[in-house]
Amino acid sequence: MSASTGTGRFAAVALIAPLLVFIAVFFIWPLFTVMSQSVSDTAVLNLLPRTAQAAKGWDPESPPTVEMKTALAEDLQAVEDRQALGDMTRRLNSAQPGFRTLMSRTTRALRKDDLPDLGEVDERWNQPVYWQAIVGALSPTTDRYLLAAVDLERDVSGNIVAMPEEASANRTIMLRTFWVAALVTLCCLAIGFPYAMLIASTEGWKRQALLGAVLLPLWTSLLVRTAAWFIILQDNGLINWMLTGLNITSGPIPLIFNRTGVVIAMTHVLLPFMVLPIYSVLLSIPDNLMKAASSLGAHPMRAFLRVLLPLSLRGIASGSLLVFMTAIGYYITPALIGGAGDQMISSVIAFYATGSANWGMAGALGVVLLAITILLYAVYGRLSSAEERRG
């Protein structure tokens, strides 16, 4: 209607605003929460406000002051939430081993006595290292989760170093995620590209049928499809039933709870995302280009390599990006069809979040996954908008 007038613009803004607010609150804010979880480190600060105050201006090389010890004792006495206390102890212990015993002894002493001198409760309270650990943990933000997400940590002097081998497996899991996603992308490409060419080269009901075969799975519930693959792949599933029935193999071959099953099922789920972009690009290539190539003396194979393939590259790139991007964030299929060795980054995030309530780690891995996904999406957006401009 009248978009040029003031009321028109006002109406447009008024129409968009509700969704904008909704998305900001229920989509952006949660993502922001994830990000802040990944850098937030308030387990210590929340419980020790007085200590934080008293430790201001303290020289970390010198012994702790009396005020600091008193403040800490007061802070600890004020704590009522035992879980928060546990969190704080765990946090401090990871920075300086020995805190666990130190804390339990101290809290026990605090329960008995009113305000004892901490240096007398335990000798260690006179050593600067423990106070250094506390002061180090007082900052409300930290990069330790983000570093840990890629298997890095800070050593005592604050330099970034690699974690010891046995401490964390995040890098392995990330590499595995990429590897599985790449495998799935390759499989999708290997099936999807010829399939898209097949659709583009047929007409009438055959084309409709081939397209329908791609679209029907796309419209079917993901869970139904995963359940179906479960039925087909399990040890007494369809494939093994047929194989043993025909005496091709003596026992069932393992197809489920391993990499093979995950790749097969994910390829099936993501294949439409490969076929459709390639198909639409192929449709846009005039078919007299291939005729022209052959009239100019190009063998069909060379015509394919020199003309069709380069022209469909955009479709291949968009399809591959789309599949890869979706695959690295996948959760359901690996969770149901994969074994312990096939869990991808999403599963680890879910484990940290729901299994061990380690929000920092969940957030940090989430940020990494989010960053990679958005990056891939930006590349994809560039590709497809370039496509639009060309078309």
């Binding site: 904008l20 010829p194 097949l198 294949l271």
Partner: protein
Amino acid sequence: MFQGLRLVFAIAAVTFLLAPLLAILPLAFTSSVFLTYPIPEFSMRWFDVLFTAASWKRAILNSLIIGAGTTVLATVLGTMAALGLRNWRLPFKGTVRTLFLLPMVVPAVVLGVGMQVLFVRLGIASSYAGVIVAHTVVSIPFVVVSVIGALGGIDRRVELAASSLGASPLTVFRKVTLPLAMPGILSGAVLAFATSLDEVVLTLFVAGPNQRTLARQMFATIRENISPAIAAAAFLFIVGTILLAAIGLIVRRQVAARRGLQKSES
């Protein structure tokens, strides 16, 4: 030879695409407690379980409630925004559009973690409202895309003509724009419902035991004690999908026929 190769490939690929769907359907009627072939005897016992066992009954009911809530919320918000985007001539239009499509891209687990933490703070964790809101977020892109597509197919001159004939902007909207965009809005609504029905990951993070949906129940069943009830549920899903697609097609045909086929492709 080349033709033969093509045929073999076509058959293999179509089999790969459709076999899973075909494999699961007959098992809905198995009498066995195992989800395996061969089927000893045909029976309806698993449909019985689906509609009588408390957990499944509850799950179906929850899915319908949450699906309906999501459909209404997503369709209203998405349609309004699509209409606004159509008239908005500001430079941020592209950015806003991308923002509305982003929930389709962001890994569900990441969004789920954020929602779990935030929803506790907002006090809507483990509530129907929370689950509906979560599902709406991921349904929005489908509604927006589909309504924008429908609006793009409307010839603006028709609206100009209507207002030149004396219709007020609101009347133009009610009598011209809305009816022409209706197929897009409806298909957006269907997609929103389907998305909600199939959503698991966010449900895992934000729903409590009382909001267990059908999809969530299926997820648990596959994970814990795989039973043919899931095949029966899958049967309902697939039949429902085909039914919805058929209805959609028929409605489209009728609309196209009524409008003399002049814009059947929009």
